[in-house]
Amino acid sequence: MSSPGPDVVQPALSVRGLRKEFGAHVAVDDLSFDLLPGRSLAIVGESGSGKTTVARMIVGLERPTAGTITACGRDRSKPARKGQERKLRGREVQIVFQDPYSSLDPRQSGADLVDEVLRLHHSYDVATRRRTVAELADLVGLDERQMHARPRSLSGGQRQRVAIARALAAEPRVLILDESVAALDVSIQAQVLNVLADIRDERGISYVLISHDLAVVRQLTEDALVMQHGKVVERGATGQLLDSPRHPYTQMLRASVPGPGWKPVRSLREATRY
């Protein structure tokens, strides 16, 4: 292993030969990618493609059967044994889940949640913590009252902002967005997507967007890879991949998205020669 030279940027996240088996079923098969700091990668696929399993392996909620995951130059392929190691990993990669209703502790306000994370990771004094909570609230677009409300009185979009603020409190280098805007209303989804774009501009964080929604993928990412049955079938720059998909499966996905002039097709496989 040679250390990266001065002109080579170390990837924020690097995945090599990742594989996950559930019994006889292979959920993820030989996945590799590098994510540079400040870049965004989309992992696109339908249900059963293995995309969510990838996200769960990266954050350590599932253990890979084979392959390595490296974040900020440190290996995280095996479960963390020590508390210190768990915390270090928490400061490298964070995740925002799909369901805004189950991703917050119902007994804690947004401010409490964020404060709890700050106390775990940083040895800030009370005043610094309070200021950081306010900064994060500002970053995700929540006001004072909303930050101090219990999750039950917040809407789905507001809850998802709290979840983003909590994830950012650890100051991670990589944020995994596991269908994080899929459950939101259209008007709210746009707000949250804008917030995510602002955060990237401001903090230079990298995103891994797990999504089935190609329009959202186009909006937020520069690179994309398409997964089907656990395997990557196509990868490339997001714009190019969506404008001129080469793999038949990507073509089929692209053809299923409604838009002006779109008509549903009874047999997509025939229409896209897949």
Partner: protein, 332 residues
């Protein structure tokens, strides 16, 4: 209008018991669907779109207070009871979002599909099974005889939703209420199910109320689109026009808020605030607090639906704003 109206909903207001209070979820909804016409019903959470469909099928929760009129082919739906109501329900079929929640998991597909044929229409068992098999074939399911013997858990979500559609069409309804029926499906499966629905509807001259949050999907498969906000219809318009020439600021905002698959914007045009339910809505125009074109008059005056360019819109400023709601677009 080219279609004679099959369904006419006039000034429908629905209140539901939520907790200890009666809460308004639909406030004076008005729409009509012609024979053979497909109407898209689009809106966000709390807009009342699903409740509108349930009121039409008379499937509202117990204790709901309903006023206004629902006229289906000359019958007053809200006044029906007993045998007449059953007859109405066999003419109006419903397909829901989650097929697994609406099918008995321990009974075979055949039992599910033929149940109402045999119990309501007294069709003999063999004949009912034959019709069910034919129905499955129509929705593009291979080997229907085998599928009929299977249990729901043996079928994928997309397959099961096709079974639901086939089942819904067995009683030869005249109106199909499709409530987010493809939302839970993968995009490729959604496309196939939509195509099947579209074909069958045209073949049979069936009317459809297609409820969805996806404006573009509604635009692709419907003749007209009706946009609801906070329990009210705010715009009804030819589906292809709504996308390029919306009349209501909310419709325009919905069109713009959705990211575009053909290009990425630096920022999306988001609508500030959150969608509200009818009972939370302010007086005056209900969209006023979120509207970029709001005036003092909007906040004070209750808006009414008025005709404009073949559509209907609930906005006092729609005449002035026409054409300026969307930025100039370069769609080919």
């Amino acid at each position: 209008m080219t279609h004679p109206a099959l369904l006419r909903v006039t000034d429908l207001t629905v209140r539901l018991r939520l907790g200890e209070q009666m809460r308004e979820v639909i406030s004076g909804s008005t729409l009509e669907i012609g024979a053979g016409e497909a109407m898209g019903l689009v809106g966000e959470s709390g807009s009342g779109k699903s409740m509108t469909a349930r009121a039409i099928a008379r499937l509202l929760p117990a204790g709901a207070e309903v006023s206004g009129q629902v006229d289906f082919d000359g019958t007053d739906v809200l006044a029906l009871s007993g045998a007449e109501l059953r007859a109405h329900r066999s003419k109006v079929a419903v397909v829901f979002q989650d097929p697994r929640a609406h099918i008995n998991p321990v009974r075979r597909i055949e039992d599910f599909m033929t149940e109402s044929l045999r119990t309501i229409d007294d069709v003999p068992k063999a004949e009912a099974a034959r019709r069910a098999a034919y129905g499955l074939e129509e929705v593009g399911i291979d080997d229907p005889a085998k599928r009929l013997r299977q249990y729901p858990h043996e079928l994928s979500g997309g397959m099961l939703q096709r079974v639901m559609i086939a089942g819904a069409l067995l009683s030869e309804p005249r109106l199909l209420l499709a409530d987010e029926c493809t939302t839970a499906l993968d995009v490729t499966t959604q496309s196939e199910v939509m195509a099947i629905l579209d074909d069958l509807r045209r073949e049979r001259g069936l009317s459809m109320l297609f409820i969805t949050h996806d404006l573009e999907l509604a635009g692709a498969v419907c003749d007209r689109t009706c946009v609801m906000y906070a329990g009210q219809v705010v715009e009804t318009r030819a589906a292809d026009q709504l996308h390029f020439d919306p009349l209501h600021p909310y419709s325009a905002a919905l069109v713009q808020a959705r990211p575009d698959i053909t290009s990425s914007a630096h920022r999306l045009v988001a609508i500030p605030g959150r969608p509200v339910s009818a009972f939370e809505a302010p007086g005056g125009c209900r969209f006023a607090p979120r509207c970029p074109h709001v005036t003092d008059a909007c906040r004070e005056d209750e808006q009414s639906l008025s005709e404009l360019d073949g559509g209907r819109v609930r906005c006092g400023r729609s005449g002035d704003l026409r054409g300026s709601l969307l930025p100039p677009v370069s769609h080919a």
